[in-house]
Subunit: 451 residues, 2 copies
C-alpha cells in the first residue's frame, strides 16, 4: 500500500509571469523615473542629482526595446548625471568618499513595514546615517508642489468622470465587476491611467458593509439587485499619483426613504467637515465632527435614541464608521507622513484608532474626506452585547438593518490658505444623483436656461 | 559645509498598497481555490483531499467580509476535509504520521525559478520527498481535462472578441494604450476576465519589432501613425486560465504591397504549422517549418537571395524570428512541462534555443502557434557582420526595413487525435482583416446571401 501525502503551498513563485513594474513611491517622488532596477542619489551640498540605471543584456534589444545609454535617461528625467548601477561603488568612492551617506530607512505607519535601505559594495567605508532621511522626506511628501497638484487634479478629474460613467450605466441585473470594467476603461481610454490606485471596491447591497470589499476572496462578483444600495470606491493612478473617490447611490436610480436618511447623514458629515477644514484644524476633531452627523442620522432613522453628547463619550459613532475619516493622498493612496516623530500619536478609541493621521491641517496638504455609515453584523453584535452602548439602541430597529449595507462618500481635497479646494467633481446631492442616473447632464450645463 | 549625500533605492516596500492576490498555479490546478494564505494536501492512498484555510482575525469581518468556517470552503471547493492552517501540524501528526510527505519542489524551465516547498512545524519527524511530485504534476498539467478545455475555449472566445473590438476601433492618431483599454474592457465587461494573462503588447510601427513591448519602460504610449503596421499580443485570464492571441494589421485598415508580403509570409508559416500539427509531430520541427515560410517571404521581399536549404543550415530564419514558435498554455501563459526529465532538451541554435518545449505533440496538449517576422536593428547588425549570413542578404534592401517593425500572428490550439482544434477566432486573411476594419461582420454571417 502506498503511504504518501502531497502538499502544495499557495504562493506564486513557480512561473515566469512578471507583474507590471510600478516604481517605489519615495524614488518616484525624488526622480520621477519609470524604469525598474534603477537607483538615485542627491548631493545635498551641491544639489547635484545622480541617476543609476541598469546595464542591460544584449537580449534586451530583441525582447524589450532599444538599449539607451545613461545620457538618455539623464536628459529624460532632468538629472545632472547618470551612470550604470554597477558603477555606484566607483562613483561614490571617487566623488563622495568624505561624505556621510544618508539612506532611506523607516517605518510606514499604515502598513508597519520598513523601507529597505540602499546599499552598495564598499559602503562600509562610508559614514552611513539611516535615521535622518526618512522622516524628512516623509514630511516633504505631505506638502504637495504646484506640479504635484496639477497631476492630482488631472487624475481626480478622470476618476470623477469614471464614476459618473458607472452611475450612468448601472442597472439591476448587472454584476458588480462590470462597474469596475466601466470605470477602468474610462480612466485608461480617456485619461491614460494604466493602473488604478488600489483594487476597486464595487459593492452592492450587503457587500456595501464590507469596508475593503473587492479583494481576491470577494472579487466584485455579486449580481446587483433592484433596491440595493451601491458603494463604489475607485481611483485611477496617473504618473504614480492616486485618485481615491467613493460614490454611493441606489442601484435602480431612486432613493427609498431609508436610503435618503442614511445617505443624507453621510453627506451632512462630508459637508460639515469640508466646511470646517482649514489650516490649524486638527484632523481627529474632524473625525469627531463626522461622527456627530452620523449619530444624528441614526437617531432620525430610529436606530438610536438619547443624548448625543453621551453617545459621543462612549464613541458609539465608531461602531457605525469603524474607519478613519480620511488620509493623506499622493503617490501612495494612503500617503506617508501621518504619524511622524514630533507629531501627535494615534488615539486608541473606536473610530479614532483608524484615523491615519492626527496632525493639524496645513496649506498644500492633500487629504481624502470619506465619512461613512455601515451596518456591520460584528459591530452591531458588539453594541448589543455592551450595556453602555445598547442603552442608546432600539435593538429591533437596528436588527432591521442587517444586510442593508452601508454608504461611504469620498472627496479628495487640497488644504488652501483659507479652506479647501475640492478636486473631486461627482454628483453628491440626492437630487443630483437621481438626475444623472435618469440621464441628466454632469456637470449641469452652466448656461442652461431656467425652465 | 554639509557633507551629505542621500541614496534612495527603487523597490516598492514602504507602502500599505497590496496588489490583487492571484493564486499560485500548481495550487490552483489542484484545488481551484481563490483565497490567499491557504494550503492543501492530498492523501494519495485514499484520494482524500484536504484544504487548510487561514484563521482570520476579528477585524476581517469589518474590512474584508464575513468570516466563514472551514466547512464553507470544503463545500465551495469540493474537498473532503477542511481545517485551519494552524492545524496542519496536528492534522498531519494525528492522521499521516506513518506516511511519506511529498512536497512540490522543482525548477520552472521558462523562468529558472524554483518553487518553494511546503513546510509545517514538526515536519522534521516525517519522511519528506522533494523530488517526486514536481515532474509528475508538471506533466499532468500538460494534458488538459475536458473541464480545463471548456475554460480555455471560453477565455479564447473572449480574447478573440477583444481583439476584434480593437481592430474595429483603431485609427491613426490614437495612442497604443487605447487599444489595450478597449481590449481589457471587452474581456472584463463581457467575459468577467478581471486580469489579463500578461501585460498587453500594443505595438505600432517600429515598436512592432520589440518582442515584449508594453512593459513599464515602454508602456504602449506611442501615437499611432498612418501607415504603421500594428502588432497586438493580448490575452484575458479567466479562473486563472490564459488566452494568448496576437493579431497584426495596418493601422489605417489597408495593407501596402510590402505589408502584404511580410504578413502573408507569417500567415503561411501559421497555416503550414497548423496543417501539419497532430500527435507524434515534434514541436521543434514545426519551428523549422515556420522558419522556411519566413525565409520564402524574405526572398519575395528582395531582402534575401540564394538557396533556402543553405539558409536553413545557418539558421538565418532565427534572426528574423528570434522567439519560439509557441508554448504550452494553461494556468500559466507559458505553461509548465516544456523541458521535463526524460524529454528532449533545449537546442542551442538561433530561434530554436527560444522554443519553450522540444516535445512530441500528444492529444489534449494546448499550445500557442505564433510565428513572426521582425526587423530588429541588433539582429540585422549581426547578420550584416557575419559573412556566413550576409552572403544571402541584399544589405541595401534590408536596411530599408529598419524601423519597419514586424508581424506576429498567434493562435491557441488543442491537439486532437487527428490534428488540432483552433480555439482562436479572429480575422486572419488579408481580405478578412480589411473587411472587418472597413466595418464588415465578424465572424462573417453564415446565412448571408451571395452577392
Ligand atoms: Mn480613501
Ligand atoms: Mn504566446
Amino acid at each position: 500500500m502506498l503511504k504518501r501525502i502531497c502538499m502544495i503551498p499557495a504562493c506564486r513563485n513557480d512561473t515566469d509571469h512578471e507583474p507590471l513594474f510600478r516604481q517605489e513611491s519615495y524614488f518616484h517622488w525624488a526622480f520621477g523615473c519609470a524604469e525598474a532596477g534603477t537607483a538615485g542619489a542627491i548631493d545635498i551640498d551641491t544639489k547635484k542629482s545622480i541617476l543609476f540605471i541598469p546595464r542591460l543584456p544584449e537580449a534586451y534589444a530583441v525582447w524589450m526595446g532599444k538599449i539607451e545609454p545613461p545620457s538618455t535617461f539623464a536628459k529624460k528625467y532632468g538629472v545632472d548625471e547618470a551612470y550604470y548601477v554597477d558603477e555606484i561603488p566607483k562613483v561614490m568612492q571617487d566623488n563622495y568618499a568624505s561624505k556621510t551617506v544618508h539612506v532611506l530607512y523607516g517605518k510606514n505607519t499604515d502598513s508597519g513595514a520598513y523601507s529597505k535601505p540602499a546599499s552598495f559594495e564598499g559602503m562600509d567605508k562610508f559614514t552611513v546615517d539611516k535615521d535622518t532621511l526618512h522622516p524628512v522626506i516623509a514630511d516633504l511628501r505631505v506638502f504637495k508642489t504646484k506640479e504635484e497638484l496639477d497631476v492630482l487634479r488631472f487624475v481626480n478629474q478622470m476618476t470623477s468622470e469614471g464614476h459618473v460613467e458607472a452611475m450612468r450605466q448601472i442597472k439591476p441585473g448587472m454584476y458588480e465587476y462590470q462597474l469596475e470594467a466601466i470605470f477602468k476603461f474610462h480612466v485608461y481610454m480617456h485619461g491614460g491611467c494604466r493602473r488604478t490606485a488600489y483594487t476597486p471596491i464595487c459593492a452592492s447591497g450587503p457587500n456595501a458593509a464590507v469596508l475593503h470589499y473587492g479583494h481576491a476572496g470577494a472579487p466584485n462578483d455579486r449580481e446587483i439587485k433592484d433596491g440595493d444600495i451601491m458603494l463604489l470606491d475607485m481611483g485611477g493612478e496617473y504618473h504614480c499619483y492616486a485618485g481615491d473617490i467613493t460614490t454611493s447611490y441606489p442601484a435602480n436610480g431612486k432613493f427609498t426613504e431609508e436610503q435618503k436618511i442614511v445617505y443624507q447623514g453621510v453627506l451632512n458629515a462630508m459637508t460639515s467637515v469640508e466646511q470646517a477644514m482649514k489650516p490649524g484644524v486638527v484632523w481627529t476633531d474632524m473625525q469627531i465632527l463626522a461622527s456627530r452627523r452620523i449619530l444624528e442620522a441614526l437617531i432620525e432613522l430610529g436606530v438610536l435614541h438619547g443624548d448625543i453628547e453621551e453617545m459621543m463619550k462612549v464613541y458609539l459613532g465608531g461602531y457605525f464608521m469603524p474607519h478613519g475619516l480620511g488620509h493623506f493622498m499622493g503617490i501612495d493612496t494612503h500617503d506617508v507622513g501621518g504619524y511622524l516623530p514630533g507629531y501627535p500619536e494615534r488615539i486608541d478609541k473606536p473610530g479614532l484608532r483608524s484615523v491615519r493621521t492626527a496632525r493639524e491641517l496645513k496649506e498644500n496638504m492633500v487629504l481624502t474626506v470619506e465619512p461613512g455609515m455601515y451596518f456591520i453584523d460584528s459591530e452591531m453584535d458588539k453594541i448589543i452585547a455592551d450595556p453602555t452602548l445598547s442603552k442608546f439602541v432600539n435593538v429591533e430597529r437596528l436588527n432591521q438593518f442587517r444586510g442593508w449595507g452601508g454608504v461611504r462618500l469620498e472627496d479628495n481635497v487640497i488644504v488652501t490658505a483659507t479652506g479647501i479646494d475640492n478636486m473631486s467633481s461627482v454628483p453628491r446631492t440626492i437630487e443630483e444623483l437621481e438626475s444623472v442616473m435618469a440621464g441628466g447632464a454632469w456637470p449641469p450645463a452652466r448656461d442652461a436656461k431656467p425652465e
